[in-house]
Amino acid sequence: MFLHNLKYELLSTLRHPALIFWLMLFPIFLGTVFKIGFGSIYEEDTLFSSIPTAVVETADNSILREVVDAVSGDDSPLLKTTYTDEDTALEMLRSGEVKGIICSGDKVTLTVKNSGIEQSILKSFIEQYGVYETIIKDTLENDPANAQKVIAALSADVKACTEKPVTQGNTDLFVQYFYNLIAMVAIFGSETGLHITKDNQANMSSLGARRNISPTPKSISLSASLVGCFIAQAVCMVICVTFIVFVLKVDLGGDLLLVYASSIVGGCLGVTMGFLIGSIARISADAKDAVSMSVSMAFCFLSGLFISNIKGIIADTVPWVNSINPVAIISDCFYCLNLYNDYTRYSVKMISMAIYIVLFSALGVILTRRKKYASI
């Protein structure tokens, strides 16, 4: 009986062209937009690359030139320098070709257009130059005996800091947009889930009435509907992840099988959320659509789909919001898989999703358990 119901539930869901087409098209389209939109931002703007700098020599300063060349010449140089005259340099600065102009006169000066981290690095660079120059001059004047030692100390290759990567995962910040996209598709499973109640409640559709008068217990037809939606949503999730990973070639990080598993569980969470919304009170189908959509969008917003660091702000101010926001939980699963070395946090997220699924389904069943209706 269950299988019979499931078979037709699946058939009717999978033949619902709009649902399948759009639920699949949606991530494919937006994923492509994401890929195009910020495919290169990470490399270009987040990761450090040599700072384009113009150097204008108004007076001969061989030491500066030596130092500048030293930091421009390595494998991963600090500066990408262009020696030029003042007018050209200013033009380059205006057009954004260079971030700053180092001017060697009596005093080394820096000219920038605006402030930012690149400019700070330039500033720090010339400050260092200035400081070393001062120290050497002072020492030569006051303590020439030690000059040799001081110069040696200053010219020593200082490696004061060892950098330890905090994770082995993909640290591209923009990959979190894809996490949120997958989470969004998952929560859109609520659209699939909304139909469950409608198709099973006698007071919502004639189809529901017909099911209610059949000898098939409601528990069976409801669970068949739920499982049917789970499967349909799982198909959508698998397609979504596959497209992102294999077509767009986005490195989501972490064990791919677990990525698939998390997205499918997330999709089920979305379905049960829709099921619950569908069962709440007797509001119109339009209103239910609106509630499901608004709730989903609000969750997506809080999870950082529109502003990537909103999750960080929430983590600082109201951390519990992140632990109960279903979309944040789903996208955190991928985040944990990517960045953490162990599976403790990931397991917590998966368990949270399971709790939601059970909770939403149970509430939905309780709300729809009524067999007779006051009016149809």
Binding site: M1, S206, R210, P215, K372
Partner: protein, 316 residues
């Protein structure tokens, strides 16, 4: 005494202040085609929904096949087939799949189900449309699909809630014949409609409802006997004087005379030779007349006289 299939006693159903069913009682025996007749909003569909335990009611009791009906009476539901007023099928499934799906809710055995589904398809004559989706079907075909979904599992009790709304005469006849055939094969039928002719044609017993109350019940002949009118005589005649009209109204068994300038309508209750007596008066006065009709009462007359209103064609 035949077994009672449906027994409803003193049902009261309120929607707020509105009393939808007012001490409504009903008893239907095995093998009957029971007609539930009433104008729009009289409570026919509410009655059906209460019988099916879809709707809660405030008072009263309902038994089907001798057992109280509840939402979980699956053994009872197994033997009921319902054809809803609204077409209730999946748009995404084909004709065959729809029938198979609904049949499968009742029949678990696959081989038997296949046979039943095939029979249902043949019964409603949808053999040529098996792979069609409901959206591609015309109104009549869709109704037939709706019926097939309701009866494929060969129920003992079939409830049809206005199955012929918006159906062309051919399809309608086919549906009505089908219902009679199901009945001959042993099914008890409850049939609601506001089409008099249909009910008159197939129902063995009829209940007339109005404002949630049952106001009359019986076979069609019993119902017709309940009303004064037994014969209506209509005569086409010009220039009838009031004097002669008055003379006709004094004839025995005549209870009403109306004249609109071209047509004289005389209502008679009981008695024989009413037409001869009326024509006798006209001939006495040397009046020439055109066509003459004499009609026996229809259910519509019964309805009109009992409820005081005509039937409209659409459900609210």
């Amino acid at each position: 005494m035949k077994n009672t299939v449906v027994k409803a006693e003193n049902i009261i159903k309120r929607y707020g202040d509105l009393v939808a069913l007012d001490h409504f009682s009903l008893e239907i025996s095995e093998g009957e085609i029971f007609g539930l007749l009433g104008p729009n909003g009289s409570g026919k569909t509410t009655t059906i929904n209460c019988i099916l335990s879809l709707l809660s009611f405030d008072k009263g009791s309902i038994e089907i096949f001798g057992k109280p009906m509840t939402p979980t009476s699956y053994d009872i539901k197994k033997n009921i087939g319902v054809i809803m007023q609204n077409v209730a099928v999946f748009d995404e499934l084909t004709v065959y799949e729809n029938i198979d799906y609904f049949c499968g809710l009742y029949i678990t055995d696959k081989a038997q189900r296949k046979q039943y589904v095939d029979e249902a398809v043949e019964f409603v004559g949808l053999e040529d449309f098996l792979r069609f989706r409901p959206k591609k079907l015309s109104g009549g075909l869709l109704r037939r699909l709706n019926i097939a979904c309701g009866i494929a599992h060969k129920p003992k009790l079939i409830i049809l809630d206005e199955p012929t709304v918006a159906v062309d005469p051919q399809s309608r006849n086919r549906i009505l014949e089908g219902i009679e055939e199901l009945n001959r094969n042993g099914a008890t039928v409850i049939y609601t409609s506001h089409y008099m002719e249909e009910v008159e044609q197939i129902c063995t017993r009829i209940a007339i409802m109005d404002k949630g109350k049952k106001i009359a019940e019986g076979t069609k002949d019993e119902l017709k006997r309940m009303i004064r009118n037994t014969e209506t005589v209509t005569i086409e005649i010009l220039g009838l004087e009031d004097r002669i009209k008055d003379r006709i109204s004094t004839l025995p068994h005549v209870y009403s005379t109306e004249y609109d300038g071209t047509k004289l309508t005389v209502g008679c209750s009981g008695g024989k030779h009413n037409l001869v007596r009326i024509l006798g008066v006209l001939q006495e006065n040397d009046l020439s007349f055109g066509r003459v009709y004499s009609e026996l009462p229809t259910l519509n007359d019964v309805f009109l006289e009992i409820t005081g209103k005509a039937l409209r064609d659409k459900e609210d």
